[in-house]
Symmetry: C3
Subunit: 146 residues, 3 copies
Amino acid sequence: MTSSVSTEPGTAELYHRVQQFYARQMQLLDDGAVAEWAATFTADGSFAANARPEPVVGRAAIEAGALAAARQLASEGIVRRHWLGMLSVEQLPGGRVRARCYALVISTPKGGQAGVHVSTVCEDVLVPDGGSFAVQERRVTRDDLS
Amino acid sequence: MTSSVSTEPGTAELYHRVQQFYARQMQLLDDGAVAEWAATFTADGSFAANARPEPVVGRAAIEAGALAAARQLASEGIVRRHWLGMLSVEQLPGGRVRARCYALVISTPKGGQAGVHVSTVCEDVLVPDGGSFAVQERRVTRDDLS
Amino acid sequence: MTSSVSTEPGTAELYHRVQQFYARQMQLLDDGAVAEWAATFTADGSFAANARPEPVVGRAAIEAGALAAARQLASEGIVRRHWLGMLSVEQLPGGRVRARCYALVISTPKGGQAGVHVSTVCEDVLVPDGGSFAVQERRVTRDDLS
């Protein structure tokens, strides 16, 4: 019986490009480079989460929300690391990409014990942007919330 | 002195295909799509674990075991995420693949704190199946057990 | 506006080779194959960490330190797993590679609960070695320490 899990030939390059994009995107966020991280979203990009009643729409709003969060964490002496893994990628028309992955947030207080903060699933629509991508739509679903 | 870690040229495509297979396989399991996940094993596939005295043999038995586990977790309101990483891949004759990776299980109770459940090593023999793979042999070794 | 995250075309093969190198390197260390792990450093390689006042310099010293640590863990019945992820890779001249990734250490006592030990960032300069790489410089920065 044919497996229900299919892989599309010739997509190692795409898969690598998405992995590299996510690695640099999350390193920017976790290093506190919020403006540069926000620049990886399209100007009209949206960020929905089951932790919030409404999506955040537009790069400016996405940046403002992330900046407030980064300042709060810095004031509390907490370092966050966003781990993205178990990535599945689907090529859409026009160079767009649908990506689904697990996103695990690790939290470490200065002088304290590192641990898992939240476990989530991240679903993106990526569009071509220069030689890389930008996020047009992001949906993050936390496992602990309904 | 030559490093004892070798990489085989030209295997980026294989490595990507295995990573994508594992991502989709684990997403099926963690989403509760147990029949579809079981279909990623060969009909005569085996699943051995140091947590069990005997291997589970055959797709039907593998599916039944996973279904019972999925129902138990659902009744307890627990979401599991299987993270596979640190993958090393070796091409065997006939398109078969030996794969070894770390498998970390994250567990999140609804309304509760996500955390590490178990840390394991996963060793597979994969066979070609359609454009993808199926697991012929899986051995999962938990770090906490002898 | 062009995204600030760029990807270099044609580097899927390099990215894969580095991922496979790290997978095998960490599997050697975590399996207690310390001499083989140390052989993945150049003879004059260095290993700096914010957990130590001075870098460890030279393969012999790197091996000695890792052997002492491995023996201590074995005596305590603790299994460590080094997870490397969120990898970004940059090709340098002469086949050298700069790599930056997150390194999460999972710790499991025999008969006990697995959990996160430390969260770190790992920055390497890799040099070609046979068909693979060797680490010339490693810097590991723990998130909990200044």
